[in-house]
Subunit: 376 residues, 2 copies
């Protein structure tokens, strides 16, 4: 575990980049999509199946894991990798976002956030120091600074105050993280949709110094146009030689647009959550498998897809097991969705490396515009 | 599909037998345990995973499949094997048992059973002729006669009348099945716990002539002692050169006792249903994974088990994901349980072949008597 965490940039195409994040637990090809394993499992998947889709790294949620089964318990059991049977890199969030969206009776102070567990009501404190300690106990490879993500809509003044609190917390996170060879600490840029605040935040983070930089406060309901608006300039405030991580994104077209704007890493529950609710993502856009038009359709979701759902089963079968409430429905659709998302990332990486990203993106949108295959 | 269905007996040990059922879709090693794929899926498993546990054959439920997605639809889609992505043998029950336990507004006549679907209330008829047609549409390799299984407790007179109705239905099933090379039709012995009725039923079935014979009307709440009491004599009424199938059995000790008494095939939802409700079956007996004593236990369910749940995960992890309601809990425990059941069958087959079944059974009971491993 003594190898240094570092990022190698291989090629650029416009603002888009492709590279490799090197970690002691394995390389991460960028642009990378990170499936979310909230409670130490990517829902409906075995970790070896997640790996076969092409995922190099998973995301774990500090908030969920600290409450159940508990970070100390996971540490005693050998860390999160061993606990969940995934030996490749894991990024953990700081808990800052979820404590504000899920916890009850939360109280925000300069020190941090006290809150009640949504599971059993027990009281907890999340602060820069406790978040760093929990992420250390989990054994996370990429640790996120503890930050505050203000609820939208908010005034520019509120966004500014929140951002400056997050920057003070970033310094405290850096101090508490210390020197941990082989492990990385990422700062999180805030500042809403105001370029001056985004730049102020980036300068503050760069002055502290991090192994990577996240773009926070997006994908929280502001819409794609507003998000792309920020991504048109915000990545430019960040160091070229460090990975840039857009948190909580997103739909396939969000991902494509973010990569075009210089993002290197993303995560989202969408492919797994959609899989459990009967929505498949394909090159032709989303498919609602519960729709009656699939009931007699012998064709796969996507004839060109090599995932187990597409090579082994008809739309009629997927429709049937979804309607019957069978677990295999969530298992197969999640597998398909994760496979599709990773295939999309591989396509983006190859296109950037070959300098043909514009063509790739044009084809991406053209196929989606055609929509799903015609009913039988 | 023109190869004949036939049974080869390899060895006996006491009343126990080991052999091979040959079918055009592959061999079935006996004694065989058949996982249940009620609605065209063994719940929480992919079919290729079921196969790796050692299963040679699955069971499908006529009642469920005729109602959803419908037998005609499955036939249009190429049959049940293709529909559910399982190319090895499938046995389908006749619907007779489930129509009496699940359907509403059922009416039993000499012709058959009319009933309302438990899903949408639609009216249906199951009779020897419709059951044979539905099982043909599904493409079942081993078709079961349509029979009536009387609710217990019942008077001997009621059991006798029901058995004689089932024997008339057995003749109608035989007539309706016709000649289908490569496909087998099994008769079902009834007669409750009365030896004379069991013998009368067996004689009636043998006079008609079937490719195999099931022992019906057991595992319906009569208890293990009463079941073994029937199994002490009933298999002896059946032809030596045809497979004997005990329907709906059972727990591991039920299986062992049935095999000792000359049973060749069994099926039960127990390993998959238990897996979804947090109960693991091991060589040391059942383990309730939700029990708090597992919360910090780094050991696998069974250190000697080679299934994915035991080689990749601690009891602490299995406890956590069960408590958190994660799908991987049902996926891993079902896999473990099916693996254990198939391992038990492989052990029984080897012991019979080597003439050491008594020692095997003694070891089986001795290890269970020790109980689960000590808490940490």
């Amino acid at each position: 575990m003594s190898e240094r965490f570092h990022f190698t940039l291989h090629a650029t195409d416009g603002r888009a980049r492709t590279g490799t994040i090197h970690t002691p637990r394995g390389d991460i090809r960028t642009p990378a999509f990170m499936p979310v394993g909230t409670a130490a499992t990517v829902k409906a998947m075995l970790p070896e199946s997640v790996r076969t889709t092409g995922a190099d790294i998973l995301l774990g949620n500090t908030y969920h894991l600290m409450l159940r089964p508990g970070a100390e318990r996971i540490a005693r059991l050998g860390g999160l990798h061993r606990f969940m049977n995934w030996d490749r890199p894991i990024l953990t969030d700081s808990g800052g976002f979820q404590v504000m969206s899920l916890a009850a009776l939360r109280k925000l102070t300069e020190d941090g956030v006290t809150f009640s567990s949504h599971i059993d009501g027990s009281r907890h404190l999340l602060s820069p120091e406790t978040s760093m300690e929990i992420q250390r106990l989990l054994g996370s490879d990429i640790v996120m600074c503890f930050d505050e993500c203000p609820a939208l809509p908010a005034t520019e003044e509120a966004v500014a105050q929140s951002m400056r609190l997050s920057m003070r917390w970033a310094q405290r996170s850096r101090d508490a993280f210390g020197d941990r060879p082989g492990h990385a600490l990422f700062g999180i840029m805030q500042g809403g949709v105001t370029p001056e605040l985004r730049e102020e935040s980036a300068e503050a983070l760069k002055a502290i110094g991090f192994d990577g930089y996240a773009i926070g406060g997006l994908a929280v309901g502001e819409g794609q146009a507003a998000m792309f608006g920020v991504l048109d300039y915000a990545p430019g405030f960040l160091p070229v030689d460090k990975p840039r991580y857009l948190m909580g994104v997103g739909k396939p077209d969000d991902i494509v647009g973010a990569v075009q704007r210089g993002v290197d890493m993303m995560d989202c529950v969408l492919p797994s959550r959609s899989g459990r609710t009967g929505q498949a993502w394909t090159r032709r856009g989303p498919v609602a498998i519960k729709n009656a038009r699939h009931a007699d359709d012998p064709r796969p979701l996507d004839a060109d897809c090599t995932c187990p759902a597409c090579t082994g089963y008809s739309r009629a079968y997927l429709h049937h097991v979804f309607r019957a409430g069978e677990m295999i429905s969530g298992m197969l659709l999640t597998w398909h969705n994760l496979h599709y998302f990773q295939e999309l990332m591989a396509g983006l990486r190859a296109a950037i490396a070959q300098g043909r990203l514009d063509d790739f993106v044009a084809d991406f949108h053209a196929l989606r515009a055609q929509g799903d295959i015609e009913p039988l």
